[in-house]
Symmetry: C2
Subunit: 247 residues, 2 copies
Amino acid sequence: MIASTTQTSTARDGWSRIAPLTLSEGATAQAQIYASLREALISGYFQPGEEISLRRAAAALGTSVTPVREALRQIESDGGLEVFGGNRVLRVPILSEAELIDIRDIRVNLEGFAALNAAGHITAARKRLITNACGLMHRAATTGDADLYLENNWRFHALIYRAAERPVLMGVIEGMWLRMGPIIRLAVTTPQHLTRSMASHDAALRAIVENNAAKLQHAIVRDITEAAHDLTDTLRHWEITRGSGMK
Amino acid sequence: MIASTTQTSTARDGWSRIAPLTLSEGATAQAQIYASLREALISGYFQPGEEISLRRAAAALGTSVTPVREALRQIESDGGLEVFGGNRVLRVPILSEAELIDIRDIRVNLEGFAALNAAGHITAARKRLITNACGLMHRAATTGDADLYLENNWRFHALIYRAAERPVLMGVIEGMWLRMGPIIRLAVTTPQHLTRSMASHDAALRAIVENNAAKLQHAIVRDITEAAHDLTDTLRHWEITRGSGMK
DNA sequence: TACTGTAAAGTGTGGTCACACTTATGCATA
DNA sequence: TATGCATAAGTGTGACCACACTTTACAGTA
């Protein structure tokens, strides 16, 4: 069983996993915050509905509100955050079921297309990286390490798609993962999701070593479709437990 | 012939078409600037490579740099602007041919899918709006009104896709148009583009009145493919004239 | 004329503050 | 105990300013 993910849920917020800014790496503070928070959202460090305060975020990062505000606005534009009430507070979106199937179909089209184009251009070095990521996912699935699993799940897919060498397409796909990150984190806690998902991943890996483009696309599409099914289940369960358990 | 679009090119920048903020409509200044500039980019009011200065933009809009900076950062996150040199000045991206075909294939997948899903849900009222937009495009094509054409071209496609009732998909599609806006504006100046494009639009309109989903998808895909071809031609021609004509 | 170095203008960046507004808190009252 | 109101705390927003940096302009020199 995956542990420690539902630990009073408000006691430790997503910022606790994000290190303060190591200033002056040549990049602007705003860009560093943007990259950190974006990665954190994809990795599911923030829960759906979690509110992000500008001042608290600035304090956690050791900067002022100005660069934080810009970074958060950028992520809002990506769909990773949304303005909530009359207070205009930014929070992690709670996807509706309609949005979930919307994202699923976009992923099926785009990631399927990316996989189809990537198949022929996967170098030997990249194949090793993909195989390694898949192996780490297997280990994470058995030991129940959610962080390790999610990190390598994204890495596994990203390595494949990046081989298509289509930057714009890659950006759109990443945007979909940004939206799904928080809910995927919750879905990973259900063990049957892991076993089913790993079957698709293994099929994709076999297709890669065989250089079979159509087979790779099929495996990716199956992974997305099955994951979307688990995600809707997770969403339903999470909403009822949230509605009864908390305020 | 479409006129007045290449009028010394730096004398009138994109801001000349954007009205100063009519303050306090309930929305924040930043949101208004974001919406205005986004629409302006889709409409092609800014040329590829045009630089956007925070202070000049703030002066043109009658506000300070703070909300302008956030809005521009948001659009940068959408891909509608990019940071250029060591000066970090924001400018309208100059798409490469690789990015152009990247965007084309994303559009073929996504807008084709949207058209397929929209076909069954186009109400009679919406059909009238679509027919009207198509008629205005025809008029614009004959009179040579680039503004009118571009406005109704986007309206025509958006009305169709919106019928699919998929907000996330619609947002991604809009992001692709945001990137293409500036270069489309240049492509419209070539008359053969208009006649060819209108043939696809008419085919789409016929498919809509016949409620033929597959035919609608085919017409949309053809429109996108042909337009992409004209866009690469325009890009090549624009780059050589730009390289020789200007500094 | 061509070139170089200095000054000026312009650029984004991030810190701070006052403001309007919403939400939470707590005390007084019924 | 429950309710209502006033106060306090917290929120995003937009303006301003100092800073570092780049680009442009211009003067002086070879």
